[in-house]
C-alpha cells in the first residue's frame, strides 16, 4: 500500500518524495531507486520534511502517527488507524497536542467514481431521501490465506471487518452520518484463523434509517455491492475498480421508482454507468497535499470520521457476546 501511495506522491507536482522506510528495503528501492531509504521510523519523522505517510500493519500505525505528529509533521495514515479504540484515541490526543498539523486517514473508497456519483445524486435530492442501505464487501481468501499478515491477530488486532468492512462502514457514514444503534453477529465460519471471517450487522442512524452490512473473507469471488434505496428511486454501486479488476467493473445503476400507469411496474428504466479508471488514489493524495500546502481543512478521512468508523467496528464486535467470548474476539493489550 505504501508503494501505491508513494507512486501518487511522485506524480504530484506539489510534492517531493524524499525518503522511505520499509522492512523490506529492496522492494522500496526497486520502486524508487533515487529515493533515500531510512533505517528507522524515528529517522523519517525527525527528518527535514513536511509530511509523513504511514502505511504500516495496524500494530505499528499509532506509534508512527503519534511520533510523526509530535515531531511536527503532517500525517497521512492508512486505514485502519490501529488495532483498538485506544489506538485511535491516542492518535487523536497527539493531534490535539499539535494543532495546525494535518491528519488524514486513507478511506479512499469515498473517492471512487461510483461513490462520488452516488453522493452527487443523493445530494441533489432528486431521488428523495435515503430509506435504507445495504453493503456487501467480501473477498475470496485463497491459498495460504490463514498465514497472511492480515490474519495475524497480534499484528492487526481483528479480522475482515476491521481490515475491509471498515470501508463500508465509513461509506455508510459518508451517506447517512452517525449510527447510534447496532445489532450484529460475527463469526469465524471457515478459515483456521483466530480473527473473524464474517461479520453481519444492522445499524440504525439518528434519523431511524437502517444500514445492513456483510463483511466477509469467505466470499470466494471478490464482491463490492452498495445499495442505497431512497423514497423516489435507488442507486447501486457494484464493483470497486482495482488494477486487477478483481472486484469487477465499477458501475452505478440508477433508477427512479416507476409506478406510472401503462408501464411495467417493478422494472423501472435503469441506467448503468461504467467507470473506466480509479481516480481515488490520485484524488485522495492530492487533497492531502492541498490540505498541507494551502492549510485547508481535512473534509474526508479526518480524525473524527476515522474514530467513528472505528467505534462502529468495535460496537459490532461487542454487540455479539458469543463472538466476544470466542477465541476470535479482537486482540486486547
Amino acid at each position: 500500500m505504501g508503494i501505491t501511495r508513494a507512486r501518487e506522491l511522485v506524480k504530484h507536482p506539489g510534492a517531493e518524495l524524499v525518503c522511505g522506510f520499509d522492512p523490506v528495503p529492496d522492494q522500496f528501492a526497486a520502486a524508487f531507486p533515487k529515493v533515500d531509504i531510512a533505517d528507522s521510523v524515528e529517522h523519517i519523522v525527525n527528518a527535514e520534511i513536511d509530511a509523513v505517510f504511514v502505511c504500516t500493519p495496524n500494530r505499528f500505525t499509532p506509534g508512527a502517527v503519534v511520533a510523526a505528529l509530535d515531531a511536527g509533521k503532517h500525517v497521512f495514515c492508512e486505514k485502519p488507524p490501529g488495532r483498538t479504540l485506544q489506538d485511535i484515541h491516542d492518535i487523536l490526543a497527539a493531534e490535539q497536542r499539535n494543532p495546525g498539523l494535518k491528519l488524514k486517514f486513507g478511506f479512499n473508497h469515498r473517492y471512487h467514481g461510483g461513490i462520488q456519483e452516488a453522493k452527487r445524486i443523493i445530494d441533489t435530492g432528486r431521488l428523495g431521501k435515503i430509506l435504507w442501505m445495504r453493503g456487501i464487501y467480501g473477498k475470496s481468501g485463497g491459498k495460504g490465506f490463514e498465514s497472511e499478515w492480515r490474519n495475524n491477530k497480534e499484528l492487526v488486532g481483528a479480522g475482515i471487518l476491521l481490515d475491509q468492512g471498515i470501508h463500508m462502514l465509513d461509506l455508510f457514514r459518508f451517506f447517512c452520518g452517525d449510527f447510534v444503534e447496532v445489532k450484529s453477529m460475527v463469526t469465524t465460519a471457515h478459515w483456521d484463523i483466530n480473527v473473524e471471517d464474517n461479520a453481519f450487522a444492522l445499524l440504525r442512524d439518528t434519523h431511524g434509517r437502517i444500514a445492513m452490512l456483510h463483511s466477509s473473507s469467505t466470499q470466494w469471488k471478490h464482491r463490492f455491492n452498495l445499495d442505497i434505496y431512497m423514497s423516489e428511486g435507488y442507486l447501486t454501486v457494484n464493483g470497486i475498480l482495482s488494477s486487477t479488476r478483481s472486484y469487477g467493473d465499477e458501475t452505478i445503476s440508477v433508477a427512479r421508482k416507476q409506478f406510472d400507469e401503462g408501464f411495467a411496474q417493478g422494472k423501472p428504466r435503469e441506467e448503468i454507468i461504467y467507470f473506466d479508471v480509479d481516480p481515488s488514489w490520485e484524488l485522495e493524495v492530492g487533497e492531502f497535499i492541498d490540505n498541507v500546502v494551502n492549510d485547508t481543512p481535512v473534509l474526508m478521512g479526518n480524525s473524527e470520521q476515522a474514530m467513528k468508523a472505528m467505534e462502529l467496528v468495535f460496537a459490532i464486535y461487542h454487540n455479539d457476546q458469543q463472538f466476544m467470548a470466542s477465541p476470535s474476539a479482537p486482540w486486547q493489550p
Partner: protein, 338 residues
C-alpha cells in the same frame, strides 16, 4: 479517448414502435425521399466534402442510396454523403419540405407521450446529472437547438435543473410546452450552462460548424449534449446499405465512435461521456430482415436472431451498450474554462 469518460447501459423496455410507429415512419420516409428528389435534383448544386468527423480527405465509396454516394473515411471509419446538398439547399429543404411539415404535424405529436417517457425524461435526468457533476455551477441557463419535442422543457422544468430555458429556432412551437420557455436564435445567447441538440448531427451540412457554433454560446465549463446515430453500431454494421431507416437527407453523417471523439476534440471540447445506450439494434435488424428477405445476415447473427429468445437478445443488446457498439449515441462534452 478520454480515460475518465463514462459508458452507460440503459434498459427501459423501449420498442421501436413506441417512438417510430411503422405507419408514421413509412410515410415520413416516403415524403423525405420524394422531397429529396425535388429539392436536390440539380447535380451542379451538390458539393464535395471531406470527412465531417476528422476532416480527412481519404475515403472510399461504399454504397449508394437515392443516387447519393456514401463514403467511408479511411482515417476514422465514419460514413458520409459526398457530394451532398449545399448548406443553403438543406436549409431550404428543412424549412419548406413536406417531410419536415409531416415530422412536426404528425410524427413529433403522435409519438410525444412515448418519446417523453422513453427519451425526454431520461435526457433531462442525464443532463442534470452531468451538469451537477462537471458543469459550471454559475451558468444555469439551458438551450435546446431546433426543438422538435418541446416537452423536453417540461421535464427539465419539473426537475428544476436549469433556468432560464431557451429553444433555439424551434421546429415545433414552444407553446406546446407548459414550462416557461423563450424561443430565440443562437446569436442572441451567451454564457449558457448547457446546450442540447438531439438527433441533429446526422443531417447537418457541417457537424463541425454546427458544434462550434453551439458550443460558442456556452460559458466556460458549460456542457454540450447531443445524440446521433453511429455507423459503428450493430444494426448499421449488420444491415449496412440495407438499413431501412437511413435515407437522404436525414442521415448524411453517420459518424464512427472514433470519428465522434475526433470531432469533439476538434471543436475544442472535452469529452465527459460518449455512450451508446441504444435499446433497439437487435430489434431493428430483426424487423429489417422480416421486411426485406433480400438481406443476408452472417451465419452467427442469423442464428442469434432466429434461434435465441428475447432474453438472449436483451443480454446481447446490453453487451452492445456496454461496449459502445449500439448505433444510438449520446455525447456530453464540456467547454474548457478559460
Amino acid at each position: 479517448m478520454t480515460r475518465r469518460m463514462k459508458r452507460v447501459v440503459v434498459s427501459s423496455g423501449l420498442h421501436e414502435a413506441d417512438i417510430r410507429p411503422p405507419a408514421l415512419m413509412s410515410e415520413f420516409k416516403r415524403l423525405s425521399i420524394q422531397d429529396a428528389a425535388d429539392f436536390f435534383a440539380d447535380p451542379a448544386s451538390l458539393v464535395e466534402v471531406d470527412c465531417p468527423a476528422c476532416d480527412s480527405a481519404e475515403r472510399e465509396a461504399v454504397f449508394r442510396k437515392q443516387e447519393f454516394l456514401y463514403n467511408r473515411c479511411e482515417e476514422c471509419g465514419s460514413v458520409y454523403v459526398s457530394p451532398r446538398p449545399a448548406e443553403a439547399t438543406l436549409a431550404e429543404y428543412y424549412a419548406n419540405s413536406r417531410a419536415s411539415r409531416f415530422r412536426v404535424e404528425h410524427f413529433s405529436r403522435d409519438t410525444a407521450k412515448a418519446r417523453r417517457y422513453h427519451l425526454l425524461r431520461s435526457h433531462a435526468n442525464w443532463m442534470g446529472q452531468i451538469v451537477d457533476e462537471t458543469g459550471n455551477p454559475d451558468a444555469r441557463a439551458y438551450a435546446d437547438l431546433s426543438t422538435h419535442s418541446p416537452q423536453i422543457f417540461d421535464e427539465i422544468h419539473a426537475l428544476e435543473f436549469f433556468s432560464p430555458l431557451y429553444s433555439v429556432s424551434p421546429l415545433v412551437p414552444v407553446t406546446e410546452s407548459e414550462a416557461p420557455v423563450t424561443a430565440t436564435t443562437l446569436d442572441a445567447l451567451s454564457g449558457i450552462g448547457a446546450v442540447s441538440a438531439f438527433e441533429k448531427i446526422e443531417h447537418q451540412f457541417s457537424p463541425f460548424d454546427f458544434l462550434r457554433e453551439a458550443s460558442g454560446v456556452l460559458a466556460g465549463g458549460g456542457i454540450l449534449f447531443f445524440t446521433t446515430r453511429s455507423v459503428t453500431g450493430f444494426d448499421l454494421q449488420v444491415l449496412w446499405d440495407k438499413t431501412p431507416y437511413i435515407f437522404i437527407p436525414e442521415h448524411i453523417n453517420l459518424l464512427s465512435i472514433e470519428g465522434m471523439t475526433r470531432l469533439v476534440e476538434r471543436c475544442g471540447l472535452e469529452l465527459v461521456e460518449l455512450s451508446t445506450p441504444g435499446q433497439l439494434d437487435v430489434e431493428l435488424v430483426l424487423h429489417a430482415v422480416r421486411q426485406d428477405p433480400s438481406i443476408k445476415l452472417s451465419a452467427f447473427v442469423d442464428y442469434l436472431l432466429h434461434h435465441r429468445d428475447p432474453l438472449a437478445h436483451a443480454d446481447f443488446q446490453e453487451f452492445l451498450q456496454k461496449h459502445r457498439l449500439s448505433s444510438h449515441v449520446r455525447v456530453a462534452a464540456r467547454k474548457p474554462k478559460e
